[in-house]
């Protein structure tokens, strides 16, 4: 019965929506201990510095990765299972961080990002990619679990604050995009007619006098989310 000396990391699940599916921002893992290739992907994350708070560490990771500092961030869960890191992953960590690692407790953060936002060039040697949730494969560490839990956290948060999901949409969007987003988040098909009826009752989803441009099919009407009207409706 001894006490654990641990390292603390933050990991960031940055979600985007391309109109069809949800995507998550992943880094290609680099480093080859013993000539072994780590070709897999991981969430952006890092050990925290001595002089750094948890939230600040998460902000730093995202800033270094995207060049942005004004990203919404939600701390949603801490992971501390002693077997969450395999021996192989442990070796990689010790090589890249040059510290002796016993266990890493990670604090997971969630961020919703418009996928159209221009990302800064990533640090040299890093490759950043928006990967579809259906195409994740097996990620490094327990990052598949972190992403799974992040979607649940999105649902919980959106139940309390329905404006939350609009962070994932372009400023002008079609009802098809909005409905598809709901279907991806909640994992089930939405009846078109009921959905349109539901949305038409929300006065903060405002129909514009504009339509899609340059599409092969019949151009759909565009809508926008009005935060002022939303705040008024919630009062």
């Amino acid at each position: 019965m001894s006490l654990a000396v641990n390292h603390i990391s933050v990991d960031c699940v940055v979600l985007g929506f391309d109109g069809e599916q949800l995507r998550v921002l992943l880094l290609k893992r680099v480093g080859e201990p013993g000539g072994q290739e780590f070709g897999d992907m991981k969430l952006p994350g890092d050990l925290i510095y001595t002089d750094e708070n948890l939230d600040d560490a998460a902000k730093r990771v995202l800033r270094e990765l995207t060049g942005m500092s004004n990203i919404n961030l939600l701390q949603y869960k801490a992971y501390g299972s002693k077997d969450r890191i395999t021996t192989k992953d442990m070796k990689w960590l010790e090589q890249t961080t040059r510290v002796r690692v016993e266990r890493i407790v990670t604090i997971a953060y969630l961020s919703l990002l418009r996928i159209s936002r221009q990302l800064a060039a990533p640090p040299v040697g890093n490759e950043v990619r928006w990967v579809g949730l259906d195409e994740l494969g097996t990620l490094a560490f327990d990052h598949n679990i972190l992403i799974h839990d992040a979607i649940e956290a999105v649902r919980r948060h959106a139940d309390i604050d329905p404006s939350y999901l609009f962070n994932l949409l372009p400023h002008k969007f079609t009802l098809l995009q909005l409905r598809t987003l709901y279907e991806r988040i909640y994992g089930k098909a939405q009846d078109v007619r009921n959905f349109h009826k539901k949305i038409s009752q929300l006065d903060y989803v405002v129909a514009l006098d504009e339509h899609e441009q340059g599409v092969a099919h019949r151009a759909a009407r565009l809508y926008r989310f009005d935060r002022k009207l939303f705040r008024r409706a919630r009062r």
Copy 2:
């Protein structure tokens, strides 16, 4: 820019409701480095063991404290600010745990408990008390902040799952108790008539053919929460 070696602890905010106010389960802090008295109170918590997961550590703390193993537990936030622990508190920790402490990241858990439940005798030297939220004073570490955030977490959770608050009530309760509980959780007065109307529309709050016993005022009708009906209503 160095990496922090940290300790991980869990702290448990156990909330109860006595019909009048919310109470939290606190421990009197013991230990006197340098003859100094630590007469203040703290949340039940502990450093995690090497072979222990976060959730298991929280369960252990509560089991040791209350003798119970079937308590609802909700992980709600991680605290890692580097200045969350004063020098004085740090000394106490190093004395009682006999480890060199650099920073402690704590994972906070929330538990709702019927205040009538019989607690086991606490470990020798410990004094456990249900302290009213209005009578906390200044607690050890940043535990006032943890408790404040716990109430917010209760609200968030109850917004998603209205059955959550019934964990705080006796099996049979009056509408006055239920209304007072809402007022304490949400921090504002509830209009009596609107509240009764709202509750009468919830078929899972079932009126009994029983009244309070042995009260000086007019005995009020008793109600109970029906989980089966609740589940059906939510489907």
